[in-house]
């Protein structure tokens, strides 16, 4: 069982033989349609964390 907290974790899981993965209980998973460059993935992940912070501020 591999704990996956980031897309990078998922990539590392992909390269291994253990295909049982576990996501944290706060995860929203989104399949994107094509291979993205690392810059784009980072941008999307930044957006996710920015979005999270934005949501946090609004909720407060």
């Amino acid at each position: 069982m591999i704990n996956v907290n980031t897309t990078q974790d998922l990539r590392e899981a992909y390269s291994g033989s253990d295909r049982d993965i576990r996501f944290p209980d706060n995860s929203n998973l989104l399949l994107v349609p094509e291979r993205l460059g690392s810059d784009k993935v980072e941008e999307l992940q930044d957006f996710g964390s920015t979005f999270q912070r934005s949501l946090h501020l609004r909720r407060n």
């Binding site: 996956v4 907290n5 980031t6 897309t7 998922l10 990539r11 899981a13 992909y14 295909r19 049982d20 993965i21 576990r22 996501f23 944290p24 209980d25 706060n26 995860s27 929203n28 998973l29 989104l30 399949l31 994107v32 349609p33 094509e34 291979r35 993205l36 993935v41 999307l44 992940q45 957006f47 996710g48 964390s49 979005f51 999270q52 934005s54 949501l55 946090h56 609004r58 909720r59 407060n60």
Partner: protein, 177 residues
């Protein structure tokens, strides 16, 4: 504050899944299931046929959804269904019932659930079998399916991104641009 604990995005790139599926189904006739499953199948074998699946009645409980299955392509031999995400197993079960012939499935992500594999009723190979800390099913969707199904997008947005629905929609559109 509850929404904060649900804010983590993990992006699963479908080309990773396509490469993995290709290694398992080489030479077998594959058929994409639904729009996102078909897109994945096209990445594996361009020109692969598709079986349409339409949600007639949406439910957050995936195994309670009412589905309509389109025409099944003719196959000279065994057929492997391709789908990106299998959660309840309902879609595979409905499609396999329409085919009625020798069929199995190769999927990207399979929710780790005995009931899902039982309901699907067909042998399933997978790239990843996933679960979630503390149990339950993490919300998982393809960007494409969400944009094509406003009911799903609205339900997910209202549950997890209330007040930020438009930003979430823009994020999805940006992914597909």
């Amino acid at each position: 504050m509850a929404a904060l604990s649900r804010g983590l995005f993990i992006f699963v790139e479908t080309n990773f899944l396509a490469e993995d599926i290709e290694s398992r189904v080489n030479g077998i006739m594959i058929v994409g299931v639904g729009n996102s499953g078909s897109k994945l199948a096209q990445l594996v074998v361009p020109g692969s046929p598709k079986i349409e699946v339409r949600t007639l009645e949406y439910s957050r409980q995936r195994d309670q959804r009412v589905l309509e299955v389109g025409d099944v392509p003719e196959a000279a031999g065994p057929m492997t269904l391709i789908d990106d995400i299998v959660v309840s197993g309902l879609t595979l079960a409905r499609v396999a019932a329409e085919i009625g012939e020798e069929v199995d499935a190769s999927v990207g992500l399979l929710y780790k659930s005995k009931s899902a594999t039982k309901l699907a009723g067909v042998p399933i190979t997978y790239s990843f079998r996933y679960s979630r800390d503390g149990g339950g099913t993490p919300p998982i969707n393809s960007a494409e399916s969400l944009l094509e199904n406003p009911d799903r997008l609205n339900a997910l947005s209202e549950r997890y991104f209330l007040g930020n629905e438009r930003e979430f929609g823009k994020l999805l559109e940006g992914l597909l641009a």
